[in-house]
Symmetry: C2
Subunit: 160 residues, 2 copies
DNA sequence: GATGAAAACTTTATAAG
DNA sequence: CTTATAAAGTTTTCATC
């Protein structure tokens, strides 16, 4: 069972690249795409799942149609930087459904969060009713996303 | 065919929530999960796909196992802000496979990009060999991601 | 909405070249 | 790796209540 990058050959990488953007490809189509017959292709997918390379499958939803069509990136600086405060903040953010991404970072701020909001009104109410009710925030800095040109889940390095 | 938020009822929302994190649920399991029998559940999934709510399916890969295990958020300020320069930069970033997200934003910087790198060496070589070969960059500001606590693709607002 | 059924396809396992 | 087989499960369509 592969569990390191070096265990992946060119065909494994092709499988991962195909499934990254088309997670519901049938085994027959996938085999055809990567240049294998069905049976070894299926075994490779199993191995990639069991080895943890493929962690799961997700649907890609249209946020515009769902509402909360605007995306805001909010950098958050906390008052204190001890583990307890940092972790508590992270856990709180994690639980808010409109918060899509929560990243603890190095540098000038502590957290970067990506939030789906419904216009400037939605943004305002997220800040006032949710974010600023969390204790320990020193300050925040927001940038609205005007356009997202790419949003993929992973990068599959070439094995050269 | 639904094509607005208001066309989604509670069961549609349940279907989307389930598929958001388990994109390969079988129709039988999904039906059971959302409290429907198989046939109407299947019709709803079809409608959600045709209505554009579900744009596709993806696999979730383990970036640690694949290599390029570190994530860096890089804010980029460009020299000029005319459409031509902005779009050209965006398109260039979009084509680099290690660049996972490309967002054109309001505020103090122009673009926020999320990049998968292989340690500080990989970061350095991305900056030197890729990012700084692109013309028109005034400056950048990077933050390494220490930990990602949440990373989901969409938010399904409640229909209340 | 629920149920049931039929055909086509997919998944999963296994055997043999 | 390939081809082939087979049972179980899933997808898709469609008719009926």
């Amino acid at each position: 069972m592969p569990n390191r990058v070096s265990d992946l050959d060119l065909i494994d990488r092709r499988i991962l690249k195909a499934l990254l953007t088309e997670g519901r490809l049938s085994n027959a189509d996938l085999a055809n795409r990567v240049g294998l017959s069905a049976s070894p292709c299926w075994q490779r997918v199993r191995r990639l799942e069991e080895g943890g390379f493929i962690r799961g499958y997700a649907s890609i939803l249209d946020q515009d149609l769902l509402g909360a069509a605007e995306t805001v990136m909010i950098e958050v600086v906390l008052d204190r930087h001890d583990d307890e405060v940092l972790e508590a903040f992270g856990r709180t953010m994690q639980q808010m459904p409109e918060v899509l991404e929560v990243h603890l970072t190095t540098g000038e701020y502590d957290y970067l969060i990506k939030v789906a909001v419904d216009g400037t009104k939605g943004y305002e109410s997220f800040l006032r009713e949710k974010l600023y009710r969390v204790r320990g925030i020193r300050h925040t800095r927001s940038s609205f996303v005007l356009r997202t040109l790419k949003d993929v889940q992973a990068y599959i390095p070439d094995g050269d």
